[in-house]
C-alpha cells in the first residue's frame, strides 16, 4: 500500500480539476493506491481508474470534493467522502463503493450501473434517475439514510435503491414529489411516507426475500457510515414498503368514447327531443332504408321484357305469376340500372325519405 496526501488548495491558489486529476493518475501509474485529498471543489475525483499495484484496490479519502465524486468509477475503487458533496455523486458508477458521510446534491447515483453508494444524509432532486442493471455485473445499490429530493428515480431501469427515511418526521414524502416517473425496472425500498408518486408504479409490502436483503444490507450500510446504533430503528419492517414498476398489462386503459356515450352522456342524446335516431350506420351503397334512391314500378308501362330482372346486379327484381314486378328492399341498393335498361320507363327512381322526424 502506497499512500499520498494531496492538498488541492494552497493559499489562494487552487489546483484546477485537470491538474489534480492528472496528478492522481500519474501517482496511480507510479503504484500509489491510497489517496488522501483535501479538495477544493474539484470534479470527478476517484473516477474511471484502476490500481496498478497487483491485487490491491484504490482508496480515496476526500474532503470537500466538487461535483461527480466517483464518476464512472470502477470495481476495485473505494471512495470515502467526509462531509457533504455537490451534485452527481456516483454518476455512472460502474462498480465502486462510495461512502458519503454527509449530504449529496442533486442527481446522486444518476445512471449508476453497478457498485454501491452509501449516503449518511439526504440526496437531492432527480437522484437515482436512470439507474440500470446489466445482469452480467453486480446489481447497483444506492443507500440513503434520510430522504431524496423531488423527481427521484425518474426512468429507473434497474438496480436497488434503499431510502431509510431517518430523521424525516413531518415530511409528506421521503421521496419528494413526482418520483418514479418513467420507472421501468428495479426496486426501491422505502421507509416512511410516500406521496405524489407516478401512477405507473406500485407500492407493495415487503416479502421475506426483501427483509432478508434489507437485514444483511443494512448492517453493511450502517457500518460504513458509522451509524450502527440505528439498526433497531431502521429494521422495524412495519414502516417499510417497496416500489416497483407496474407490469405493462396492468396499466390503466381509458373507457371508449362509445362506452362514455352509453353510460355518462345525456340519456337519449341531446337531440332526443327532436329526433328518433337509432344510431344505425349505413354503409356506402346500402340496401333498404339507407338507399339514396329506390325504384318504383309502373304496371301500365311494363311490357314484361324482363330486361330489368336480367340486368339487376343484385338480383333484387322478381315477378310473380301475374307478371307483377317487385324490387326487394333488402337486396336493392338503388343503382338505377333497372330504370336505365327499361325500354318503356316502367321503373323510375324515387328519392328516399330525405329528412328526419
Amino acid at each position: 500500500m502506497k499512500m499520498i496526501k494531496i492538498n488541492a488548495l494552497k493559499d489562494n491558489d487552487r489546483m484546477s480539476t485537470q491538474a489534480l486529476l492528472q496528478l492522481i493518475e500519474e501517482k496511480i501509474e507510479e503504484g500509489y493506491t491510497d489517496f488522501e485529498i483535501n479538495a477544493c471543489g474539484q470534479h470527478d475525483i476517484g473516477g474511471s481508474s484502476w490500481s496498478r499495484a497487483e491485487g490491491e484496490e484504490l482508496n480515496f479519502y476526500i474532503t470537500n470534493p466538487g461535483q461527480r465524486v466517483g464518476a464512472m468509477a470502477r470495481k476495485g475503487t473505494n471512495i470515502y467522502v467526509e462531509g457533504s458533496t455537490p451534485a452527481d455523486v456516483g454518476w455512472l458508477n460502474s462498480g465502486a463503493n462510495i461512502v458519503v458521510k454527509g449530504d449529496c446534491g442533486d442527481t446522486a447515483s444518476h445512471c449508476a450501473a453497478s457498485g454501491k453508494i452509501y449516503v449518511s444524509g439526504r440526496v437531492g432532486t432527480r437522484s437515482g434517475a436512470l439507474m440500470k442493471h446489466d445482469p452480467k455485473y453486480e446489481t447497483p445499490e444506492f443507500w440513503v439514510l434520510k430522504n431524496t429530493g423531488s423527481f427521484s428515480f425518474e426512468f429507473m431501469g434497474g438496480g436497488i435503491a434503499v431510502v431509510c427515511g431517518y430523521d424525516c418526521a413531518g415530511l409528506k414524502s421521503v421521496l419528494g414529489k413526482r418520483s418514479c416517473v418513467g420507472m421501468v425496472g428495479g426496486v426501491i425500498y422505502v421507509r416512511g411516507n410516500v406521496a405524489d408518486i407516478s401512477k405507473t408504479v406500485v407500492i407493495k409490502d415487503l416479502d421475506e426475500e426483501d427483509k432478508k436483503f434489507l437485514k444483511k444490507g443494512m448492517k453493511e450500510f450502517l457500518t460504513a457510515i458509522d451509524k450502527k446504533g440505528l439498526a433497531d430503528t431502521l429494521l422495524d419492517f412495519s414502516e417499510w414498503h417497496k416500489i416497483e414498476p407496474l407490469p405493462i398489462e396492468e396499466k390503466v386503459e381509458k373507457i371508449s368514447v362509445k362506452e362514455f356515450r352509453e353510460t355518462q352522456w345525456v340519456e337519449g342524446g341531446i337531440f332526443g327531443d327532436f329526433i328518433e335516431d337509432d344510431l344505425t350506420i349505413y354503409p356506402l351503397a346500402s340496401t333498404g332504408k339507407g338507399r339514396l334512391k329506390q325504384p318504383v314500378w309502373n304496371k301500365d308501362l311494363c311490357i314484361n321484357c324482363e330486361l330489368c330482372i336480367k340486368n339487376c346486379p343484385n338480383n333484387a327484381i322478381s315477378k310473380d305469376n301475374n307478371n307483377h314486378y317487385t324490387s326487394c328492399d333488402n337486396k336493392c341498393i338503388g343503382c338505377s340500372i333497372c330504370e336505365t335498361v327499361c325500354p318503356k320507363n316502367a321503373w323510375t327512381m324515387q328519392n328516399n325519405k330525405k329528412e328526419i322526424s
Binding site: E154, F155, R178, V181, G182, K254, I255, S256, V257, K258, F260, R261, Q264, W265, V266, G268, G269, I270, F271, G272, D273, F274, I275, D277, L279, T280, I281, Y282, P283, L284, A285, S286, K289, G290, R291, L292, K293, N311, P313, N314, I333, G334, C335, S336, I337, E339, T340, V341, N352, K353, K354, E355, I356, S357
Partner: protein
C-alpha cells in the same frame, strides 16, 4: 344521335371528369347507388360488334356508367365512386381546363356558392414559412415531453392588470376587495363554432361528446363553441354545458330556448361568443340553404324551411361603442356577470382599431377577442367572398398583440386566432406558432370535419357543404347521408386527434424549454422569408 351545340354545357367545362374503364366494370351499380350528387348514372351505349367493310355494321347495346352534365348535379370530386368500386373501374379526375364558374354565372345570372375554404390559396401559408428555431441546447435543458409536467391552459375572460385587481393585504395575505370580471382557465384550443344546421345532428353531437370526454376522462379542458344555430335544451340542462361556449350571431337563433332553459341549468356555460364576422366570408352573414333546414333545425331556430341568410351585422349595433355597451352588457347580464363574454370578428385591416377599442373598454366586460383569418372554412358562402375577401391571420394577430404591448396591456383581453389552422395536418404546430406570436389560444372548425371523415380539401375537392348532399353525412341533414356517419367513431377520432395534439404541443414546448404556454414568445420562431421576418418581427434565418 342528338345534335350537339357549342353553348351546351359539356363535360370538359366541369371541374371534375369521371374516368371510367368499361373493361373493368361489372355493372354492379355500387357507384351510382352511392353518389349523393347524382353526378353519375347508368346509361346505355352502342358498340360495334364486328364486321368488315363489306358487311352492314352490327351494333350491340351495353350498360356503362356515365357522368351527368349539369349545373346542379356535376361531379365534385368526392371520390365515393372510387371507394365503392370493387374493380377500380371509376374515379374522378381534376379537370385543369375547368370553365365551370364562368359557365354557371353565364347561365344562371347567379353568384357561385359553395362550402369549404378558399380555393385560391395562391400565396401559401405564412405559418409554414415559420419554424421553431430556439431550441434549448446547453444554455438550458430541453424538457421531457412525457416526464415533465406541462401546463397547457390559458385564461378566457377579461384579465385585469395587477394594479387594477384592488387586492388588499390582510394578515400577510392578499384578499379581494371588489368584484372582478369572470375568468376561466381553459385549454388553448377551442373546437367547433359550427352551427346545428350547417352540420348534421350526428356530427354536432359527436363534437359535444368528444368535448365532454376530453374534459371528463382525459383531463384536457377543451371547450366547444356552439356556432350560431342554437343549442338543444337537453344539453343546456346537462352538466356538460359548462364545456360549451354559446354563440350569438346576427340571426340570434335559438336564444329564446337558452333563456327559457336558464332556471333549469345546473352549470354556467363556459362562455358566450358574440359573432360579428367570420374569416371565410368577412362582412357577410351566415348562410344556410333551405335544403339543410330540416324540421328540427326549423324548430330550434324558429324559422320555416327557407334559405336562411343572417344579416352581415347585428341589427342595432352600428358602432363599436354600441357593441361594447349594448351587446357585451346584455350578454354579461344574461348570466349575471359570471360568464366570460368574447367577440369573434373576421381579421381585417381594421382589427387593431377594434382590439384597441375593446382594450379601453372601461367596464371590463370584454372577455376575449377571436380573430378569424381568411383561410377559414364555412358551410356555405358566395364563392366571391370565399376566394377574394378576408385578411390573413398571422400578421393581424401579431399586430393586435403588438398593439397591446405598446400599451403594456398584453393578455388583458385574451386573443384567440383561427382561420385555416391544421390545414397541413398538424394543428399543434399552427397552434404553437400562433401562441408564440401572441395568441392565448386558437380555434378551428373545418379541421374537425376532416377528422370526422370529410374528404374536402383546399384544392377544390368536394366543398359542397352548401348543397346538403355531403357524401360523408357531415354537412347534411339528409337521413340516408347523415346515417353514414358513426357518431361514436367520429367522437373517438376527435378525441384521439386532440390527445395526439396535446402530446405534440408538449413535443414543441419541451425542446423550447416552456413548461407553460409560450404566449408571446416570438423569440422561439424563425423564418427563411425576410419579409415574413420583418413583418412579424421574428428572426430571419437562411
Amino acid at each position: 344521335m342528338s345534335e350537339v351545340y357549342i353553348n351546351q354545357l359539356h363535360k370538359d367545362d366541369l371541374p371534375w371528369i369521371i374516368e371510367y374503364d368499361e373493361s373493368k366494370c361489372i355493372q354492379c351499380g355500387r357507384c351510382t347507388a352511392t353518389c349523393s350528387f347524382g353526378a353519375i348514372k347508368p346509361a346505355i351505349e352502342q358498340r360495334k360488334v364486328s364486321g368488315s367493310i363489306t358487311e352492314k355494321n352490327k351494333l350491340e347495346k351495353v350498360i356503362v356508367i356515365k357522368q351527368e352534365i349539369g349545373f346542379a348535379n356535376h361531379c365534385r370530386g368526392c371520390g365515393m365512386c372510387e371507394r365503392v368500386c370493387p374493380n377500380g373501374a371509376i374515379k374522378a379526375v381534376r379537370n385543369t381546363d375547368d370553365r365551370y364558374s364562368i359557365r354557371y354565372r353565364a347561365k344562371t345570372a347567379e353568384s357561385v356558392k359553395k362550402g369549404g375554404r378558399s380555393n385560391l390559396n395562391t400565396e401559401g401559408r405564412t405559418l409554414d414559412k415559420i419554424k421553431i428555431g430556439r431550441i434549448s441546447q446547453m444554455t438550458d435543458p430541453s424538457l421531457d415531453a412525457v416526464r415533465h409536467t406541462f401546463e397547457i391552459k390559458t385564461p378566457f375572460g377579461r384579465v385585469l392588470s395587477a394594479d387594477k385587481l384592488n387586492l388588499n393585504v390582510k394578515d400577510g395575505k392578499l384578499e379581494r376587495t371588489t368584484p372582478l370580471p369572470p375568468n376561466r382557465f381553459i385549454y388553448p384550443i377551442i373546437m367547433g363554432d359550427m352551427s346545428i344546421g350547417a352540420v348534421s345532428w350526428r356530427m354536432w353531437e359527436a363534437m359535444a361528446i368528444a368535448t365532454a370526454y376530453l374534459n371528463e376522462v382525459c383531463g384536457i379542458p377543451i371547450r366547444m363553441c356552439t356556432g350560431e344555430g342554437g343549442i338543444p335544451s337537453r344539453l343546456l340542462k346537462s352538466k356538460y354545458v359548462k364545456y360549451m361556449i354559446l354563440q350569438i350571431a346576427s340571426g340570434h337563433f335559438g336564444w329564446n330556448r337558452i333563456v327559457d332553459a336558464m332556471p333549469d341549468m345546473v352549470e354556467d356555460p363556459a362562455g358566450i361568443l358574440i359573432k360579428i364576422g367570420q374569416g371565410a366570408k368577412p362582412g357577410d352573414g351566415g348562410m344556410l340553404m333551405a335544403n339543410k333546414v330540416a324540421k328540427y333545425v326549423q324548430e330550434i331556430r324558429g324559422v320555416p324551411k327557407a334559405d336562411l341568410l343572417s344579416p352581415p351585422t347585428h341589427q342595432g349595433l352600428y358602432s363599436i361603442e354600441e357593441s361594447v355597451q349594448k351587446m357585451f352588457l346584455s350578454m354579461n347580464a344574461a348570466f349575471n356577470f359570471k360568464v366570460p363574454v368574447a367577440i369573434k370578428v373576421a381579421a381585417s385591416v381594421t382589427s387593431v382599431s377594434v382590439y384597441n377599442n375593446l382594450l379601453r373598454d372601461p367596464y371590463n366586460i370584454v372577455g376575449g377577442f377571436f380573430l378569424d383569418g381568411l383561410a377559414a372554412g364555412t358551410g356555405a358562402a358566395h364563392e366571391i367572398s370565399l376566394n377574394h375577401t378576408g385578411h390573413t391571420i398571422t400578421s393581424k394577430l401579431r399586430d393586435c398583440y403588438k398593439a397591446a404591448i405598446k400599451q403594456g396591456r398584453q393578455g388583458e383581453i385574451p386573443i384567440f386566432a383561427g382561420g385555416g389552422l391544421g390545414q397541413t395536418g398538424s394543428f399543434a404546430a399552427d397552434a404553437f406558432k400562433l401562441i408564440c406570436l401572441g395568441a392565448n389560444g386558437v380555434f378551428s372548425g373545418r379541421l374537425l370535419l376532416q377528422i370526422a371523415g370529410c374528404v374536402g380539401n383546399d384544392t377544390e375537392r368536394c366543398n359542397a357543404c352548401n348543397t346538403g348532399l355531403c357524401p360523408a353525412g357531415i354537412a347534411s341533414q339528409d337521413v340516408c347521408l347523415t346515417k353514414r356517419l358513426d357518431i361514436d367513431k367520429v367522437a373517438q377520432n376527435l378525441v384521439n386527434y386532440f390527445i395526439a395534439t396535446d402530446l405534440e404541443l408538449r413535443k414543441l414546448m419541451a425542446p423550447t424549454g416552456c413548461s407553460s404556454l409560450p404566449i408571446g414568445r416570438s423569440d422561439t420562431l424563425i423564418t427563411v422569408d425576410k419579409n415574413v421576418a420583418d413583418r412579424l418581427d421574428i428572426q430571419y434565418v437562411c
